[in-house]
Symmetry: C2
Subunit: 470 residues, 2 copies
């Protein structure tokens, strides 16, 4: 370790921030040997959802799409939202360049430097994920409305380039949004099969963009970073982060959320088309139809997607106290197998017209799956890629009967959805649900964000490149 001279490791991002010096990164002691090979550029092979996840092999960082969208869902997420504090567009560019290079390295299972290197500067890597390997880490970058305009100011000259689809989310019925979990100018969705790997990645990326500490002088002194961003200004600071998890069930099975129901059955590409032969529905759509921005978007978004995140608290104690048949009526599906109340297995089509012997709809008017179904929303579909979260207990006053008040779980769903256009995706679907969904008596939306996730990149590019071109 420490084989490269300290001097050569300084400034590894180069003065212009664009040159990756191979010697800049000391190798992580990767147990599975996956640490050194950089992924090949321009990988555009489609990733599959719901297939086997592989066993820890790195997820390619380069490609037509950013990883972490059509990647088979990992078991952990750390979602991070940032406020931009940079004064100049060039500092935003610089942080995006640095993040791109670092993310590629992290996704390959590498550390950002040698935890045992130059003793006179802060370690370039915090060391808490040493030896873990890539663990299928993906880092997905998104641009919030504040990059383009904030408080009426066009801070970076990008206002005219704001995509029409990157709307401000409307206020939905029942919203109780906490600013401490809402908004942000940039986001990074870090997903991995180990929560420690996801947290490490965010910690390192946040550190690269953070303001200098007056007493300790991070920027100028840290091995590997050429100079502080704009002196003590920094470029971006964390606004909120949220960890989430999924039960690590058999690969390819639909994971269950904290309601105990399967979540994501109707995602694009699920199940494999062959499994749906003879089904009444035309299918759950393709990623091209539902997820990826096409020629209707600006160049930097073509192959990208829009991310909507909602922190949804679930009144678990209340939910656990209601009868199974009521739970199933609320959702419109069976709890155990996941099939619709109208019969069949998990992937059987919903029969929204079926009635019982008394003429009542089997899947009720206000059932969650009816209100969320594409056929109830003019064909609108989204990709759900949500995680459960558990932040302990909090004093909570529920907003529905029996109006429980007290120390309850601060837990629920970190809902994450990707779509080609939020106006015809999440917003279209959720407007009705926010008013009518039976599930609302158990759920409260307490955090929110919307981000434009640019197309994937080839080697040598950085995330959002064309957006910043003159």
């Amino acid at each position: 370790m420490g084989g490269c001279p300290f001097s050569s490791r300084r400034g590894f991002l180069g003065a212009a921030g664009s040159v990756l010096a191979a010697s800049a990164f000391a190798e992580r002691a990767v147990a599975d040997g996956a640490g050194t090979a950089a992924p090949s550029a321009g990988n555009s092979a489609p990733r599959t959802v719901g297939g086997t996840s592989g066993n820890g092999a790195p997820i390619p960082f380069h490609g037509r799409h950013q990883a972490g969208i059509d990647t088979p869902q990992q078991t952990h997420v750390l979602f991070a939202s940032f406020d931009l504090v940079a004064k100049r567009a060039e500092d935003v560019v610089r942080v995006l360049r640095d993040w791109t290079l670092a993310a590629r390295r992290l996704a390959a299972g590498g550390a950002l430097g040698n935890a045992g290197g130059d003793p006179t500067v802060p370690p370039p890597d915090s060391g808490d994920a040493l030896g873990l390997g890539p663990r299928r880490l993906t880092l997905t970058f998104g641009f919030g409305p504040g990059l383009f305009e904030k408080d009426g100011k066009d801070r970076y000259g990008l206002k005219a380039k704001r995509p029409a689809a990157l709307v401000d989310l409307p206020r939905f019925n029942g919203d109780q949004l906490d600013p401490a979990h809402t908004g942000g100018d940039l986001c990074i969705q870090a997903c991995a099969d180990d929560g420690a790997v996801a947290f490490h990645a965010i910690r390192e990326l946040a550190r690269m963009a953070a303001p200098n500490d007056a007493a300790n002088g991070y920027g100028g002194k840290q091995a590997g970073v050429a100079a502080p961003y704009d002196a003590h200004q920094g470029a971006a600071v964390l606004r909120w982060i949220q960890a989430g998890f999924l039960p690590g069930g058999p690969s390819g099975e639909t994971p269950r959320n904290l309601l105990g129901f399967k979540d994501g059955t109707e995602n694009p590409g699920r199940p494999h088309p062959a499994a749906r032969a003879g089904g009444k529905l035309a299918g759950n759509g393709t990623f091209e139809d539902v997820v990826w921005v096409g020629e209707e978007g600006p160049e930097w978004m073509q192959g990208g997607s829009y991310l909507v995140v909602r922190r949804i608290r679930i009144a678990l104690q209340h939910w656990d106290n209601v009868a199974l048949d009521f739970q199933e009526q609320v959702i419109g599906r069976r709890k155990l197998g996941g099939g619709p109340l109208t019969g069949g297995g998990e992937f059987a089509p919903l029969d929204l017209d079926a009635t019982d012997k008394d003429g009542n709809l089997v899947i009720g008017d206000n059932a969650h799956v009816r209100l969320g179904a594409a056929s109830s929303n003019g064909g609108a579909r989204i990709l759900r890629r949500s995680y459960s979260y558990n932040d302990g207990l909090a004093m909570i006053a529920e907003r529905w009967p029996p109006w429980r008040q007290g120390l309850e779980y601060e837990a629920g769903l970190l809902f994450i959805a990707f779509q080609r256009d939020p106006r015809t995706g999440f917003i279209r679907i959720f407007e009705n649900m926010a008013k009518l969904d039976l599930l609302n008596q158990f759920t409260t939306h307490v955090g929110s964000g919307i981000f434009a996730c640019p197309r994937g990149i080839a080697k040598g590019e950085f995330v959002g490149k064309e957006l910043f071109a003159a």
Copy 2:
């Protein structure tokens, strides 16, 4: 599913709460087939620490010791602390009986009932961990001071039976304990290789002891529970919970904490004695010496242990900004390899007398490992079984230079230690450390608890049985 008649599943714990009806538990759809076999009674084979962890096989629930202490550390914890609200000792007994039976079932990978069963009552199992199998789940029960005496009241006639070793922890220098993460009359440490499994177990056990919901009537109506505890009173309510994680590195390796340093190198039984041949230290002690209560304790504690939990926030942004050599001087070990500053690999003995060419101690007076070493504390040793935690961001004012204030990580270490006697264990060791440890400028103790974890049990017994005998 649902093969047993609903009527036979009601009252599975029996009127006296002590009879396990085999038909009471519907089987979880366990993917790995481990769901049905109950572990054999009276297993007293020693478990090893730091060895291979097995691959998801159930950890035996019965034995001389409770599981979750000398069990090789799982990757996730959910630590739960409860306040007793039961008015009568018999209600405490009943919850301990019910918890014991349920815990055995959960540890074997079973669900607490059929998520697809009787539709007219709340599902006996919340269903969020269906199909996951045991994932090495352990449930370790502990009794806090409040079981014996609370606010000067001897609520359950147990005051005279309080063990001398179950002291109230003193106030330590620097403590900033938040009541929302401190204390408790009972605790359950749920550890598993999947955080969803640990959370599910706590959720189910908490539900069994919770007060009735006036509107939904959990107790009397839920399949499998005979009658509510003392009408609407309940027996125990959650006071605080804390999730934690470890990086899932290769089995047997010492995991790293969020400081990026290995944590637990000097635990009893580590490394295997053969690896220490020729070492200067006599060894790290045995579980018999360090962890298990012997004949000095009451019968119900013989083979048990005392648990001390501390929620320790770490100023990660501050730590990440200091030079590597300072980090290593603070700890007294190398960051990368974990060896002492006085040389050698991770398991090399500390040389606390070694000086450099200028005559200064190599491992400084106030280094973390010196202050924590057995030889600095009259031979005191503890078993560290800690986890990292990450609860997002919070507004924090640090208590050391440079007195950073702002939005920082609400993250750190959920320190969990087991010992034969806290007076000669954690308290002995930490009193000096709280005053002198260089690490204190990066850490703040913000939560705390002490619990007596009774001996393990044989089949048919319940946790703490002799304590409640007349």
